[in-house]
Amino acid sequence: MKLIIEQLLNGLTIGSFYSLIAMGYSMVYGVMKLINFAHGDFFTFGSYMGYTLLVMGITFITSTLGVWGGMIAAMLIAAISSGVLGLTVERIAYRPIYPAGRLPAVVSALGASIFIQNAIMIIWGPRPHAYTSDVIPGFILNIAGFRINILQIIILLLSFLLMGILYYIVQKTTFGAAIRASALDRETAALMGININLIIFFIFALGPALGGVAGVMVGMYYRKISFIMGWNFGLKAFTATILGGIGNIPGAMVGGLILGVLEMLGSTYLSTAYKDVFVFLVLILVLLFRPTGILGEKIAEKV
C-alpha cells in the first residue's frame, strides 16, 4: 500500500513534466497541424538556462533570494528564454515553410531540433551537468511513515497550477475560444476576424515557456541534465499528446499524467527495463479501441 502511494506520487510528478511539455506540443499541433520535433529541445534549453542562472548567481541566491527564490528565478528565466527561442524558431524555420504543406515543415522541425541540440552541446559542452544540491530547495518530511520530499509536492502543485491556468485560458476565455476555433479551422477563424498571428505568437511563446519551466523542474528533481534529454522527453510528451487526443489541450494534460503513472506502475510491478515497452504497448492498445485518443472526438470524415 505504502509503495503504491509513493509510486503513484512519483508517477504523477513525472506525468506532470510530460503534461507541461505535451500541452505545448498540443497547442502547436492544434493550430498549425505541425509535429514540432524541436519542442523537446526548447525544454532542454530552458533547463540549461535555469542551470546557468543558478550556477552563476549562486552567491546572490544564497545571500538574498534564498533557495526558493532561486528556484522561482530559474523558472522565470527558463520560461522567458525558451519562449523567445520558440518564437525565433517559428519565425526562421517554420513560417517560411507553412505554405508548402505539412511534410516539409516536419523536416524543418527535425532540422531545428538537431540544430538546437547541437548548439546546446557546443555552448555547454557534451557532458551532462548537475544541478548542485545547494541550489535545490526542499527537505524530507516524515508523515505517518511516508517519506515525502517537499520539493516533489511543490513541483506537483506548481505544475497543476500552471495547467489550471492554461486550462482556464483555453477553455473559459474568449481568447481561448479563438485558439480552439483556429485549431478547428484556421482559415474560417481568420475570416471571422480572429487574429491568427497573435494566436501563433501566443502558442509559440507559451508552449515553449511551459516546457522551459518543466526543464528546471526536471533538473531539480533528477539533478542531472544533458543536451540530448529533450529527445526522450519530447517523444514521451508527443506520446502523451496523442494518448489524450491530438490538438486537445485538456487531453494532453490527462495523457501526460496517465503516461507518468503508467510508467511508474510498469517499472514497479513489471520490470524497470521494460517500462517504456509497457507504455508504448498501452498507447497502441488505446489507439486500437479509441483511434483518436482518450479525449479526442470521433470525427466522421466529410465526403
Binding site: A100, V107, A112, F115, A273, L281, L288
Partner: protein, 335 residues
C-alpha cells in the same frame, strides 16, 4: 500520325534518360577502381545502405503517404535475425538474406494489420512506438538472445560457396550497390504498374481511391510488407559489413533521418531517394573538418533546403515517361 509524333518524343526523352543512367552506372562501377581509398569506399557503402533503406521507406511514405517514423525497427528485425541465426547456428549469411527479408515482412504484416486503419499522425505515433518497442526489447536482452546494449558480434562475411568471400571494402561496395541497382529496377517497374498507381491513388485521395475499386487496406499492407522486407535486406547487409549489431543503430533518430531522406529527395521519387541518401550519409563525412559544428550545419541545411525546395530536390516527374515501355512494345508488335 499524332501517336507517332508522341512516340518520337518519348524516344528522344528516353534516349536522353538512358545516357544519363548509363553514365551514372559507369560512375558507380568505376568508383572503387579509381579511388583506392578504403575510407571513401566505406562512405560510399554506407551511402548505399542509406539508399536501400530510403527506397524501402519511400514505398510506405513516398508512394502511399503513410507516416512511418519507426522504419528502422524493420531493419533491426532483419539485422538481428541474421546476427542471431548466424552466430548461434552458423547458417551462412547469404542464405539469411531472404530469410531476414521474410522475417521483417512477416513482422510488419502482424504488427501493421491491426493498426493499418489509423489515420495520419495516429499511425505515425504507433510506428514510433513500434520502433521503440523493438529497440528497447533488443536492449533488454530477452532470453539472452540479443546481447543487450552490446549487441551480437562475430557475424560472418557473406560467402558464395567456396568461390568468393565478400570480405573487403570494394567487394562490400559492389555487393550493396548491385542490390540497390536490382531494387531500383524492380521499384521503377512497380511504379509504372497497376500496383504503383494504386499506391499513389491512396496517397492522393484515399476516399476516391476506395470508391474507384482500390482495396485500400490490402495495398497499404502490401506497402508496409514490401518496405519492411527491403529494410530487412538492408539490415542483413549492414550486419555482415559491421560484423556486429547493437540497438543504438536502430534508434528513433535514425528513423527520423530516413524520413528526411525521402522528403529531401521528393516523395515517391527514386532519384530523389539517391539524393536524399547522399545528403544524409555524405554530409556529415564531408564536413568532418568542422568537427562539432557539422551537425549544427546539418540541421540548418535541412531547414534551408525545405525553404527553397519544399517539394524535394528531385520530385517525381509525371507525364509521358509513364507510357514509354508499353508504347514501345506496342510499336514493335505493330511492325
Amino acid at each position: 500520325m499524332k501517336l507517332k509524333n508522341e512516340n518520337s518524343q518519348v524516344n528522344r526523352l528516353s534516349r536522353k534518360n538512358n545516357w544519363f543512367v548509363i553514365l551514372l552506372i559507369l560512375l558507380f562501377l568505376l568508383f572503387p577502381l579509381v579511388i583506392k581509398n578504403d575510407y571513401f569506399i566505406d562512405v560510399a557503402f554506407f551511402f548505399g545502405i542509406y539508399t536501400l533503406l530510403g527506397l524501402s521507406l519511400n514505398i510506405v511514405l513516398g508512394e502511399v503517404g503513410l507516416f512511418d517514423l519507426g522504419h528502422m525497427g524493420f531493419a533491426a528485425i532483419g539485422a538481428y535475425t541474421t546476427a542471431i541465426l548466424n552466430t548461434r547456428f552458423g547458417i551462412p549469411v547469404l542464405i539469411l538474406l531472404p530469410i531476414s527479408a521474410i522475417a521483417a515482412a512477416i513482422f510488419a504484416y502482424l504488427v501493421c494489420s491491426p493498426i493499418i486503419h489509423l489515420k495520419g499522425d495516429y499511425l505515425c505515433i504507433v510506428t514510433i512506438g513500434m520502433g521503440e518497442i523493438i529497440r528497447l526489447t533488443l536492449l533488454n536482452n530477452p532470453f539472452g538472445l540479443t546481447g543487450g546494449p552490446n549487441g551480437v558480434f562475430g557475424i560472418c562475411f557473406p560467402t558464395v560457396g567456396s568461390l568468393m568471400t565478400i570480405d573487403n571494402c570494394p567487394k562490400f561496395y559492389y555487393y550493396i550497390w548491385i542490390v540497390v541497382g536490382l531494387t531500383v529496377f524492380a521499384l521503377i517497374r512497380l511504379q509504372n504498374s497497376r500496383i504503383g498507381r494504386a499506391w499513389n491513388y491512396i496517397r492522393e485521395d484515399v476516399i476516391a481511391a476506395e470508391a474507384l475499386g482500390v482495396d485500400v487496406r490490402y495495398y497499404k499492407l502490401l506497402a508496409f510488407v514490401l518496405g519492411a522486407a527491403l529494410a530487412g535486406v538492408a539490415g542483413n547487409i549492414y550486419a555482415t559489413k559491421l560484423m556486429i549489431v547493437s540497438p543504438e543503430s536502430f534508434s528513433f533518430m535514425e528513423s527520423c533521418l530516413l524520413f528526411c531522406i525521402v522528403l529531401i529527395g521528393g516523395m515517391g521519387s527514386i532519384p530523389g531517394v539517391l539524393i536524399g541518401a547522399a545528403a544524409i550519409s555524405l554530409f556529415p563525412e564531408l564536413f568532418q573538418t568542422f568537427a562539432q559544428y557539422r551537425m549544427l550545419f546539418f540541421g540548418a541545411v535541412m531547414i534551408i533546403m525545405m525553404m527553397f525546395r519544399p517539394g524535394g530536390v528531385w520530385p517525381r516527374q509525371r507525364g509521358r515517361i509513364l507510357l514509354k515501355p508499353v508504347l514501345m512494345r506496342a510499336e514493335k508488335s505493330e511492325i
